[in-house]
């Protein structure tokens, strides 16, 4: 299977702290890759490096097979990401936010209506983003990531703080994108029960190190699909 993202011994240090410690992982094309780990385990740092926001201290990564700077810039045009908080302009409407992002990537404004419909924000009219609920802001952030029609999405805790309805809507949106458009998704979440409804592959990370990488079918086989149980067992055995 083709790989969209491949990291090799990727490392990031802040002073004496190893935020990411020699992580080697692969996100297969067409997968929904659940990235699981405690707070501060290095999930966001890895996503930041892939997004070009943070520079690695060691190792390398390939995005669509590209490892060099110019190749990575071109490869990033094919990806979208929401890292930590949705990056939106609070004083603009949803439509104007997307117009601004359209100009950044050079796309046609005609796409905006369709994207707003996809994330269920088409009825927000003149309402400014600062007045949106957390779920609406999250969906607008995803819409900003989707406007360039990426075939790789990186989402850092996209269902954090969402109400049950928002969680279901986001889950359905991601499954639709994956199944209908073939979008590969790297997603991190603390809500393991929710992640287990989405993911086809998992990467477990702790204290900056990748503990295990496995397919969802393996979790199904070993823990009857109970991701929480699988995760806890794995943490216990890694401590031993």
């Amino acid at each position: 299977m083709d790989t969209i993202l491949q990291t090799r011994r990727l490392t990031k240090t802040y002073g004496a702290v190893n935020a990411l410690d020699s992580v080697t992982m692969a996100v297969p094309k067409g997968s929904i890759y659940g990235f699981v780990g405690k707070n501060g385990s290095g999930k966001t740092t890895l996503m930041r490096i892939v997004a070009g926001l943070v520079f690695p201290s060691g190792g390398e990564f390939a995005l669509y097979g590209q490892t060099k700077k110019s190749g990575l810039l071109a490869a990033r045009k094919r990806m979208g990401a929401v890292i930590e908080t949705p990056a939106i302009f609070p004083n603009m409407t949803a439509r104007d936010n997307l117009k601004a992002q359209c100009r950044v990537i050079g796309c046609d404004d005609n796409k905006i209506g369709g994207i707003l419909k996809t994330v269920n924000l088409s009825g927000t009219g003149d309402k400014k983003a600062k007045n949106f609920s957390l779920g609406m802001k999250q969906r607008l952030g995803i819409a900003m990531a989707l406007i360039g029609e990426p075939d790789f999405l990186m989402l850092d805790e996209p269902i954090n703080g969402l109400d049950p309805e928002g969680i279901v809507e986001t889950r359905e949106l991601l499954l639709r994108l994956n199944k209908e458009r073939g979008v590969t998704i790297l997603i991190s979440s603390h809500i393991l029960s929710e992640l287990s409804r989405l993911a086809t592959h998992y990467g477990f990370i702790g204290e900056g190190r990748l503990i295990e990488e496995t397919a969802a079918s393996e979790v199904e086989k070993q823990a009857a699909g109970n991701l929480e149980e699988y995760f806890m067992n794995m943490i216990r055995s890694s401590v031993k």
Binding site: A51, G52, V54, T85, A87, R103, V104, M144
Partner: protein, 266 residues
């Protein structure tokens, strides 16, 4: 970079604070002209050294329009610096600068686009200042006894160039400080620091004989230019400003871009 510039202008022209700053830039010369016109006699009458003040005011009356170039760099420059700090700082505050990097734009393009927009917003603010100043200044103060169109235009151009250098510095500090508050504080600190330096240079003015090594540096440095713009109406001064602005803008942008290309972003 074309796409980034389009996106930055889209955001700039949707920003109400930017229009507020343009409005303030237009109001400042109105207030200054009115104060000078209506308060001239009072200022002279109440001054402890009326003779010295009147001599200074006569100089102002001889060049009422071109002297405002100093204020262009000072007042309009201050507003331009605030506009830049807010425009760039907000991108860090709401995290939208990430959208540009994630979309595959190089750091150099992001930096360059921010500078283009900062410089243009400075030009717009300075233009608002000049238009307002001429609209009220000519009817109230008249065309000064020694004023010429060439001197006037040269001084305005010099004022804009100095503001352009300030915009480049503001852009660098806003991008590198990675926050709206930090960038505002740094930028305002720099502006007030420069204004203080200008006062010192102006006080030393009579003791500096030109050309000297010290004089050359004073003319070349930003604060020195601000001081000189008040007193030097020659074509030579304008050329010095033009060349040193080019050096300052290129230097600041090069250093800022090199650092930005090594900076981790939140």
């Amino acid at each position: 970079m074309k796409n980034l510039i389009r996106a930055d202008f889209f955001r700039l022209f949707k920003d109400k604070i930017f229009y507020l700053l343009i409005g303030i830039a237009a109001l400042l010369p109105i207030a200054a002209n009115a104060l000078f016109y209506f308060g001239y006699d009072i200022m002279v009458a109440q001054s402890p050294d009326a003779e010295a003040l009147e001599k200074a005011l006569k100089f102002v009356k001889a060049f009422p329009l071109s002297l405002f170039a100093f204020e262009i760099s000072n007042s309009a420059g201050l507003l331009a610096v605030i506009a830049t700090a807010l425009h760039v700082g907000r991108e860090y505050m709401n995290g939208t600068i990430r959208n540009k990097i994630i979309a595959g734009h190089s750091r150099t393009a992001v930096y360059g686009s921010a500078f283009v927009v900062s410089a243009t917003s400075a030009l717009i603010i300075v233009t608002a200042f000049i238009v307002s100043m001429l609209a009220l200044g000519i009817p109230l103060q008249g065309w000064g006894a020694e004023e010429t169109l060439a001197v006037c235009l040269r001084q305005y151009a010099a004022g804009f160039l100095i503001t352009l250098a300030a915009a480049a510095a503001a852009n660098m500090s806003a991008i590198l400080s990675r926050g709206i508050i930090a960038s505002l504080l740094i930028n305002l600190g720099v502006v007030f620091g420069l204004t203080g330096t200008v006062s010192i240079i102006t006080m030393l003015w009579d003791s500096i004989s030109m050309p000297t090594v010290a004089g050359f540096f004073m003319k070349t440095l930003y604060a020195g230019q601000l001081a000189f713009i008040y007193d030097d109406f020659t074509a030579g001064f304008f050329l010095t400003t033009l060349s040193s602005t080019a050096v300052v803008v290129a230097g600041i942008n090069t250093i800022g871009n090199i650092v930005f290309n090594r900076l981790d972003l939140n």
